[in-house]
Symmetry: C2
Subunit: 342 residues, 2 copies
């Protein structure tokens, strides 16, 4: 392969200065149509395209947007292994980013410094942060002057950062209300970690509200927590729930993945869904339709969420739109086979 041509090669070929080539490339109005044509011809002939590394260095803009995913402590191994949620979200981001000429880099982040360095090192132009990180991160982030979009966050940073979230409270409400309307009274709530996850808390608030509306007294006995969001965790909490039965007939979970794991555990213990337990997931992952019984769930459009986040972020980067804003996406109850009337 002959070496990649540089802007100077193009300039020589076209008989102009490198600056002129650069102006053509960047659509600066200084260049006459005639010269522009000559330059474009040379670019074509040499099959030239600019080196982004050099562009980044001199423009101090990388055309790179970063996605930070939390790493659960005891599985730092896999950033998004098994996690269908991340999967769909990232796809949405990638799509919009590509269309808008940005590349996407993903990192799983344990250590905070590692993350800050990553942003600075690579001259990331904008950052999407999924899920919760320790509070100190957000404080640090204030000092980094690149646009940031926070996804699924409830801390008091919404005036500082862009935000995309879902109406979690209403989601929890819809799920519980659905079960209540089907006649269930003893309804469990399965979260990952209420203390740590504001998203889970919001969903629980909605859940509680629906119960109260129906005159049911919420009880902490009906709250179950897992550590991570995996099928295995779901199965584990499922067994737990079965053995500590308080007459539970309905289950609201914060994730389809957990719900799927729970269904399996329930079946393995010789019980049936929805005959013995009605269960509602959250997210509406594409797998939901394909398990047996298919999963009743609270739908959120994760793919769309990714697209919105990317769009919001790129707008901010190109400051088409400088003030921070929060987008709240709707949720919707999707009734399938995993719930039934008592």
């Amino acid at each position: 392969m002959n070496k990649k041509p540089t802007i100077r090669d193009v300039a020589k070929q076209a008989g102009v200065s490198p600056a002129t080539v650069s102006y053509v490339l960047n659509d600066v109005k200084k260049v006459s149509d005639k010269t522009k044509a000559v330059v474009l011809e040379a670019i074509e002939q040499l099959n030239y395209f600019p080196d982004f590394t050099a562009v980044s260095l001199s423009k101090k803009k990388s055309n790179l947007i970063g996605i930070m995913l939390p790493i659960i402590e005891d599985s730092p191994a896999s950033v998004f292994k098994n996690n269908l949620y991340y999967n769909e979200f990232v796809s949405g981001v990638e799509l919009v980013a590509r269309n808008r000429k940005f590349d996407t880099m993903i990192t799983g982040v344990g250590d905070l410094d590692e993350c800050k360095n990553w942003i600075m090192k690579r001259n990331i132009d904008g950052l999407i942060i999924l899920g919760m990180f320790p509070e100190s991160l957000y404080n640090e982030l204030k000092n980094i002057n690149i646009p940031i979009a926070l996804i699924d966050t409830y801390e008091d940073y919404t005036n500082l950062f862009n935000n995309v979230k879902v109406n979690d409270e209403y989601g929890g409400y819809l799920a519980a209300k659905h079960l209540v309307e089907l006649g269930h009274r003893n309804i469990a709530f399965v979260a990952t970690n209420l203390a740590m996850s504001p998203v889970d808390r919001k969903r629980y608030q909605g859940f509680e509200e629906a119960l109260k509306e129906a005159g049911i007294q919420p009880s902490s006995k009906f709250i179950f927590e897992t550590h991570d969001i995996t099928f295995e965790d779901g199965a584990k909490v499922g067994k737990e729930l079965l053995s500590s039965d308080h007459g539970i007939t309905g289950i609201v979970t914060v994730s389809d993945v957990l719900a799927i794991g729970m269904i399996k555990a329930i079946q393995q213990e010789g019980k049936q869904v929805p005959e013995d337990y009605s269960i509602v997931g959250f997210d509406d992952l594409s797998i939901c339709k394909y398990i047996t019984p298919s999963l009743t769930t609270i739908r959120q459009d994760i793919f769309e969420k990714g697209k919105l986040a990317a769009d919001q972020l790129v707008n901010a980067i190109e400051s088409l739109n400088s003030e921070q804003k929060t987008i709240e996406m709707p949720v919707e109850l999707i009734v399938r086979e995993s719930t039934r009337s008592l």
Copy 2:
């Protein structure tokens, strides 16, 4: 935030030249321990770390490895939406890359030029290519002198590129043999596209061999093809198979995702798995254990595959290991509930 310190700031602070700082940073032996200590102290004080963009430009090395995923033509929208396989693979790559101080960039590639540009633009140090692309790509790739690892490819490029694959033929063989041993005679083979996919062809070869061994004449009537690998495609081909029934009782698929879609379609038509149809998947995605019936499948360790690919690639980049090599990973039959003895 005060501006990010540069190497010249550090040099000034330490009272040495920028070159010396660079040598310290790169562990070049020229620097005395005393000076080194002074420089490190200055680095610490200023909280300095090198700008990768600048490093990339001057070293012509980006510490970036690229992953190219094929985009199916009519779903260019989503690079790896729904695709649990990509998911696990990419996680493996990301893990190893991060440990070895590389960042990972992912792109879905429709257009070839787009891809070539991407590699050049970003100064990608090494490339992992998943799945099949048009032949012309590989010819182009020969001219790009960065290490490349091809995953799941059977074209005649194995001497030019690194390679990680799975023993697909044996996988197909195992799946078919399992069904044969259970007494099945009319066994369908469900592929995406035999003409296009060498991987599918290999698996089919093994499949055919097992049939022949058992004295069963393979017939093209038992071959079904989908377009893409999605649950929906699986369901569609499932309906097709049911309506064109040639007394089929066993099904071998090239993907768990297709198998899961098929199972749903079969159930929806009022038939049962494994009572009416025994079905074998391929991959052993984590979801397999959690559907009902749980899926008998040919296991390959996709996560490990990603790790191996990344390791191989980084070795090549750092030329610890310059000759190209092919790694073939084993497969294994995992018997679960979706197959039964006739």
